[in-house]
C-alpha cells in the first residue's frame, strides 16, 4: 500500500504533529515499510483460525477495590517539562 501526502497530513492532524517536508518524507517511507510488512503476514494461510487479540488463553484477571497510596506528586510530575500549582502545564487547548 502506498502512503500518500494526504494520508500523512491527516495522520499529522490526528496526532497533533507538525511535520516539515523532510520529516513527512521520512515518515511516509517508514510507514510504508510497516504497512508492507502486513502484506507478508497476510500471505500466511489463516483459514479456520479465529482472530485473537492475546497470545495466551488467560481471562478474568481482576484487582480488588482497595485503595493503596498513590505516587508522590513531586515524583509523578518529575519529568514534566513545565509544571505549575501541582499541575502539568501544557500549551493552551481549546475547550
Amino acid at each position: 500500500m502506498k502512503i500518500t501526502d494526504e494520508m500523512i497530513d491527516y495522520i499529522g492532524i490526528l496526532a497533533r504533529l507538525q511535520l516539515d517536508e523532510s520529516e513527512k518524507e521520512s515518515a511516509k517511507n517508514e510507514m510504508e515499510k510497516i504497512i508492507n510488512y502486513m502484506d507478508v503476514l497476510n500471505e500466511v494461510d489463516t483459514t479456520g483460525i479465529e482472530a485473537m487479540s492475546h497470545a495466551f488463553p488467560v481471562k478474568n484477571v481482576f484487582r480488588e477495590d482497595e485503595v493503596r497510596p498513590s505516587v508522590d506528586r513531586e515524583l509523578i510530575t518529575l519529568n514534566a517539562p513545565k509544571k505549575k500549582d501541582g499541575c502539568f502545564q501544557v500549551p493552551k487547548t481549546v475547550e
Binding site: L14, H54, K59, R63, D65, F88, Q89, V90, K92, E95
Partner: protein, 477 residues
C-alpha cells in the same frame, strides 16, 4: 411547517468504586491536583492496567436494572485521540463487545407510558481535568479524575420531547442511585449527558442530519439545550440551508450552542483491541448472584408505595425519584408507621427547608427516625402542629432529638382544660369591644380572640380545644 424532533442520549456516569478502574488510586473527588495519581493512571511507559472487579459487578447490576442482555464474553478496546486530558493518548473503552446490550427504561410523561430502548452500556475510563490558566494563557492538567471508572449508557434515538429526556434521566439517575453504583452528583460531573438531536418535517419519515451536544451537566441546562438546538436546526432548514453533522458545545449562559472547530474535532478514533487487558468471562452464576442481590428498583417501589400506603401519585413520584428521599421516608416510617404523615412532612417541611438552606437532598443529614418520633408526638397531642414545625426546623438544622428538645424547652401542649378555660374567660373579659362586635354578628372577632388566647398560652395549646372553649364561653354570654 411542523417538525418532529428525534433525540438519542449518551449518558456518562462515574462509578462510586473506591479505586480507579485500572489502578489502586483513590477516586475521591476534590483532592489537591495530581495527588491521586500513579504510574498506571498517568500513563507511564511499561506499566500495565489491572481491572477493578467491582467495575464489572456494577456494570452487570446496571445492565440487569435496565433490562439489558449481559455480554458474557467481554473485551476492552483502545480509542485513540491526542489531547492532554488523556496521558496515554488513548482511552480504554469497549467498542466491539460492550458489557450490556438491548435494554430499555420505561418512562411516563403526562400519563403516557413509553419504553426508551438502550442500545448498549460499556465500561471505560474517565479523562483528566483541564484548567485554563488566564495568567500564563496556558492549560493546567490534573489527572486525579483520569482512570475513574465510567459507564456510558447509550440510548436508541427514541426521544421526541425534552420532557421525555428529563423523565428518562430522572429514572436513570434513580436506578443508578438505588443500585448504589453512582452518587450521580451532576455538579461534580458524576452524571453527564450528550444529546444527539435532529429535526424533520412531519411530512417525511426520513431522519434529518443530527448534531451532538456534549457534556451538559444539569437537567435544566439539558432542557434549554434541546429547545435551543431544535429551534436552531428548524431555522437553518426554513432559511433553505442544511444542518451539518457536527459536535456543538452548549453554552448555557449565552443560551446558544456553538460548533466546535472541525480540525480539533476529527472523529477518527482508530479503535483496536486493547492488548494489555485480558478478556472477561461473566458466568451464569455471577449474573444470577447479582440478580438475587438486586435491591428494590424505582418502578417496583413506586407500585408498592401506591398500593400499600395509598399516597398521591405525585408525592410518590417525587419521593421514589430519589434514593435519599426514600431513605428519609423508610426510616421515618419504621419509627411511626404513619405513611401519609411521613409523606406530607417530606413533601412539605423537608423539601421546604432543603430549598431554604440550599441543601441537596443527598446532604440532608438529621436522624430520619426522629421524624417518625415527632409524628407520633403530634399524634399523641404532646405538641401541636405549629410547634412541631418549629421543632422539626431544629431537627433539620441541628439534628436535635425531638422528645428531649420539647421537654427541655417546655414546648409540650397545655393538656389542662381548666387552664385553657381560665385563659379564655380572662381574654373575653379583657376585650369587651370585641364581644360587642361579636354580638353585632361579626364572626371574625373569634379569630382575634383565638389569637389572644394562643398568645397567652404561648402557642402550646391544641387549637381545636381552644376554639371549642371560646365557642362555649361566648355562648354563655
Amino acid at each position: 411547517m411542523d417538525y418532529i424532533t428525534t433525540m438519542g442520549l449518551e449518558v456518562h456516569t462515574e462509578l462510586s468504586t473506591k479505586t480507579k478502574i485500572f489502578c489502586n488510586c483513590s477516586t475521591e473527588f476534590g483532592g489537591e491536583p495530581n495527588t491521586h495519581v500513579c504510574e498506571v493512571c498517568s500513563g507511564m511507559p511499561g506499566t500495565l492496567p489491572v481491572l477493578n472487579r467491582q467495575v464489572v459487578e456494577y456494570a452487570i447490576r446496571v445492565g440487569i436494572a435496565t433490562n439489558c442482555e449481559i455480554t458474557q464474553y467481554n473485551k476492552f478496546d483502545r480509542k485513540n485521540y491526542f489531547y492532554p486530558d488523556l496521558p496515554k493518548a488513548y482511552q480504554v473503552s469497549q467498542l466491539y463487545l460492550p458489557i450490556c446490550r438491548n435494554g430499555h427504561i420505561d418512562i411516563e410523561v403526562n400519563g403516557k407510558k413509553k419504553a426508551i430502548r438502550i442500545h448498549e452500556i460499556h465500561m471505560e475510563e474517565d479523562a483528566g481535568k483541564l484548567i485554563h490558566d488566564p495568567w500564563d494563557d496556558c492549560t493546567l492538567v490534573d489527572y486525579n479524575r483520569c482512570g475513574v471508572p465510567l459507564l456510558e449508557i447509550v440510548s436508541e434515538p427514541d426521544f421526541e420531547t425534552g420532557e421525555e429526556v428529563i423523565a428518562y434521566l430522572t429514572k436513570l439517575k434513580a436506578i443508578l442511585q438505588y443500585t448504589g453504583v453512582s452518587d450521580c452528583k451532576m455538579e461534580q460531573g458524576s452524571l453527564r449527558a450528550d444529546v444527539n438531536l435532529s429535526v424533520r418535517p412531519v411530512t417525511t419519515d426520513e431522519l434529518g442530519t443530527r448534531t451532538e451536544m456534549k457534556n451538559i451537566n444539569s437537567f435544566k441546562a439539558i432542557a434549554r439545550a434541546i429547545e435551543g438546538e431544535r429551534k436552531r436546526q428548524i431555522e437553518v432548514i426554513e432559511e433553505g440551508g442544511r444542518v451539518v453533522q457536527e459536535t456543538r458545545r452548549w453554552d448555557d449562559n449565552k443560551g446558544a450552542s456553538f460548533a466546535m472547530r472541525s480540525k480539533e474535532n476529527a472523529q477518527d478514533y482508530r479503535y483496536f483491541p486493547e492488548p494489555d487487558l485480558v478478556p472477561i468471562e461473566i458466568s451464569d452464576e455471577w449474573i444470577a448472584r447479582v440478580k438475587s442481590e438486586m435491591p428494590e428498583l424505582p418502578d417496583a417501589k413506586k407500585a408498592r408505595y401506591l398500593a400499600d400506603y395509598g399516597l398521591p401519585e405525585y408525592d410518590v413520584d417525587i419521593i421514589t425519584g430519589s434514593k435519599y428521599l426514600v431513605e428519609i421516608f423508610e426510616q421515618a416510617l419504621a419509627a411511626c408507621n404513619e405513611p401519609k404523615e411521613v409523606s406530607n412532612w417530606i413533601m412539605g417541611e423537608v423539601l421546604r427547608l432543603a430549598t431554604e438552606t440550599s441543601t441537596d437532598v443527598e446532604d440532608i443529614s438529621f436522624d430520619f427516625a426522629n421524624l417518625g418520633k415527632l409524628i407520633l408526638l403530634v399524634k399523641k397531642n404532646v405538641v401541636n402542629r405549629p410547634t412541631a414545625k418549629e421543632v422539626f426546623e431544629k431537627m433539620f438544622r441541628e439534628n436535635v432529638e425531638p422528645e428531649q428538645y420539647i421537654k427541655e424547652n417546655g414546648l409540650e401542649m397545655v393538656q389542662d382544660d381548666n387552664l385553657v378555660r381560665e385563659v379564655v374567660v380572662k381574654v373575653l373579659a379583657d376585650n369587651p369591644k370585641s364581644i360587642a362586635e361579636w354580638k353585632e354578628g361579626n364572626e371574625k372577632v373569634t379569630r382575634f380572640l383565638m389569637g389572644q388566647c394562643m398568645k397567652q398560652l404561648k402557642g402550646k395549646a391544641d387549637p381545636g380545644t381552644v376554639n371549642a372553649v371560646i365557642a362555649e364561653e361566648l355562648a354563655k354570654l
